[in-house]
């Protein structure tokens, strides 16, 4: 069938879809799922349980799902690096065995690391104790293990006079160095000594780490340091091995994950189908141009034993949306993703935005120099961040719009004349503000009414001529009425004011019939919307004035001569950079807001669901 791209049905709308209804038996279900998945062209409408149940997943779903989980966790734990891999066809049992082997190896290494960490903690404890008792100069075996002696080793806050100890028990020996104390005494009067020590702020040091050790503290410290080094080395080795495991198994794990994810998608597919006692019912949507291929493949795969019905989507079907725009307008679909996708029967405004967004941005930023800088900036950014291609393309078109309006306004980095020659222009933003205001309002009138007309087209399709005219054309009649009334009252047009008043009355009646009271309440709204376009002038003027001020500052600095010229250049660069940044931000936001709030509200409903075909990649 020969379909013209410009045919009324296809232009400015989302891709045309057909509704598929498929009935098959349990025996054929696997073939159907496999074919649909390989086609990757059908968006399946999930079945909600009504008289018909939803289907059950295939038996392998559980095993696939658990293996997928284990693979995912291994990938995370081993920090497997992203690598290119090929998809392999494998056997589920083999894969499970391999995954189990990798898990075991990982587990072993983790255990080893835990043991080493415990060892390290112990060595550290020993080292700390040794450090604390080192000043005493005693060998560690001298500090414990006595049959008839009690030993106190610890820190003191106040120095202890040995007389006090001897007063309690003569058989004692005291060693104090820095604030460490070692007190040896015959067993018997420990309690009194303890009290005495407490009054001096005594705190016992835990010597359990020294159990079974012999030698001077410095010897032991040396050997402890050695052991610590050794443990750290072994831990590093174990960790390195885990990283190595990650690299070694990355390809396998990543390709396995993708394979399993796909397998799981297919295995769980029946959950989206409706199921009766003996048959399955699949409902979906697919692009018109792919229908014959889909039918052919399904019938081939199931040997013609399924029932497939193709029909036009009904008025109340929630048809999934795939946007279909010419290459120039495609980047602007990004703005619809941000806001809401159109409904199936609605106009797709991407093309409109492609024409008006760069226009608005250009009017606001309107400087040939700024536009050129933006263009270079966004071209560079696009090459650096290929993922944000759509947004970068939008701004590249907008920068071109800026350059065009830079010529129209005759501005180059805020300068209105170069080397004494005035730049040729259509309109001077600095001197002809009134004209600029008029231009901005004119743009507003055109854009808003464009939206109203688009709304008329949408309503025409869905609710017929009368309602469409009452709901949308009434606005145009309203504007005409107000304009005529104003013009004839102020005498600019020599018409009786009754004509304007009559149109106004007609518009109010039409509006009331089309939208009721809420419509009448909106009447001041449309004038507010048109005047809102004055921001094109306002934000633009702010940008121009800032540029002029920056230039004046830079000029004054540079007039100082010598080193001041460098200061002048610095002021110039910094000032204009800030102004460009503000211009991009402000220009972008205000233009976008004009589209969303003043334009879309006249015709756009949105709420479409994105087309996500079963089995599509990515």
């Amino acid at each position: 069938m020969h379909s013209k791209r410009l045919s009324r049905d296809k232009m400015l709308k989302a891709k045309r879809m057909q509704k598929l209804t498929l009935v098959c038996s349990q025996a054929r279900l696997a073939d159907v799922v496999r074919t649909l998945h390989s086609l990757g062209a059908v968006h399946i409408r999930k079945h909600k349980k009504d008289e018909l149940d939803i289907g059950e997943p295939f038996p392998e779903a559980e095993q696939t799902s658990s293996l997928l989980n284990r693979t995912e966790s291994l990938i995370a734990q081993l920090a497997a690096p992203r690598k290119d891999y090929q998809k392999l066809r494998r056997n589920l049992a083999e894969d499970e065995a391999e995954v189990a082997r990798i898990e075991q190896a990982h587990q072993d290494k983790q255990q080893k690391i835990s043991l080493l960490e415990a060892e390290r903690a112990e060595i550290r404890k020993l080292r700390d104790v040794l450090e604390r008792i080192a000043p005493l100069g005693l060998h560690v075996e001298q500090l414990s293990g006595y049959g008839s002696l009690a030993v106190f080793v610890g820190t003191l806050k106040k120095e202890l006079a040995s007389q006090k100890v001897h007063a309690i028990t003569k058989d004692s020996a005291l060693m104090q160095k820095e604030n460490i104390l070692a007190l040896f005494m015959r067993k018997g009067k420990e309690e009194q000594i303890a009290k005495l020590l407490q009054s001096h702020g005594f705190q016992q040091i835990d010597l359990s780490a020294l159990a079974g050790k012999k030698g001077s503290p410095s010897e032991l410290q040396r050997s402890a340091a050695q052991q610590l080094e050794d443990v750290e080395k072994r831990m590093a080795l174990a960790r390195k091995y885990i990283t190595f495991m990650g690299e070694k198994h990355a390809k396998f794990l990543l390709s396995l994950r993708e394979h399993l994810a796909e397998a799981l998608e297919k295995a769980e597919a029946p959950l989206q189908f409706a199921k009766s006692d003996f048959a399955y019912l699949v409902t979906g949507f697919a692009p018109k141009e792919k229908i014959s291929l889909i039918r052919e493949q399904l019938e081939k795969a199931t040997r013609n034993s399924i029932h497939l019905m193709i029909s036009e989507p009904g008025k109340h079907d929630n048809v999934p949306i795939e946007l279909d725009n010419p290459r120039g307008a495609k980047p602007f679909e990004f703005f619809l993703d941000l806001y809401a996708l159109p409904r199936y029967q609605e106009i797709d405004p991407s093309l409109f935005m492609a024409l008006t967004f760069p226009l608005f941005f250009g009017i606001i930023l309107g400087d040939f120099g700024y536009g050129a800088v933006c263009l270079l900036l966004f071209l560079w950014l696009r090459s650096r961040f290929p993922k944000a291609k759509a947004l970068m393309n939008i701004f590249i078109y907008s920068s071109l719009g800026s350059i065009v309006f830079g010529f129209a306004f005759g501005e180059f980095f805020g300068y209105e004349e170069l080397f004494g020659y005035a730049i040729p222009r259509l309109l001077s933003r600095v001197n002809q503000i009134d004209l600029l205001m008029g231009f901005a309002v004119a743009v507003g009138v055109v854009h808003v009414n464009w939206g109203v007309l688009a709304g008329f087209a949408n309503e025409l399709r869905s609710h017929g001529f009368v309602h469409a005219a009452n709901a949308k054309l009434s606005w145009i009649v309203l504007e005409a009425g107000v304009a005529l009334l104003a013009l004839s009252l102020t005498g600019i047009l020599s018409l009786h004011w009754g004509l304007g008043a009559a149109l106004l009355a007609l518009a109010v009646i039409m509006l009331y019939k089309g939208e009721g009271i809420p419509g009448l309440v909106e009447i001041p709204g449309i004038f507010s919307n048109i005047l809102s376009y004055l921001r094109l002038m306002a934000v633009g003027m702010a940008s121009v004035m800032l540029a002029v001020v920056v230039n004046q500052f830079a000029g004054e600095f540079a007039a100082g001569g010598g080193a001041m010229i460098a200061a002048g250049v610095l002021v110039f660069v910094i000032g204009h950079t800030i102004n460009i940044a503000l211009g991009i931000l402000g220009g972008g936001l205000h233009s976008l807001r004009l589209e969303y709030v003043e334009f879309f509200t006249k015709f756009y409903k949105g709420g479409g669901e994105r087309f996500k075909p079963f089995g599509a990649k990515g």
């Binding site: 806001y339 809401a340 709204g525 004038f527 005047l531 004055l534 807001r593 969303y596 709030v597 509200t601």
Partner: protein, 78 residues
């Protein structure tokens, strides 16, 4: 436009018109805006509706702007 007290007062009048309406709209949009962002944090799809609701008070500023303009016209006509 001669610079006398009358002109000055007209200028103040125009300034008041725009600034009072701007402050009013700002207060209104602040409340709506923060509610919108809160709602969006839970449900991204509300961005469109939220944006439109947030800018509804702009009408007030536009009226202020028109009045300010008319007041300035008064000065130039005089």
């Amino acid at each position: 436009m001669a610079a006398d007290i009358g002109t000055g007062l007209i200028a103040i009048g125009a300034g008041l018109a725009i600034s009072a309406t701007a402050i009013a709209a700002a207060i209104a949009e602040k409340a709506i805006g923060s509610a919108t962002v809160g709602a969006m944090a839970e449900k991204e799809e509300l961005f469109g509706k939220g944006l439109i609701l947030t800018v509804i008070p702009e009408t007030i500023v536009i009226f202020g702007l028109v009045i300010a303009y008319l007041i300035i016209q008064m000065a130039t006509v005089q």
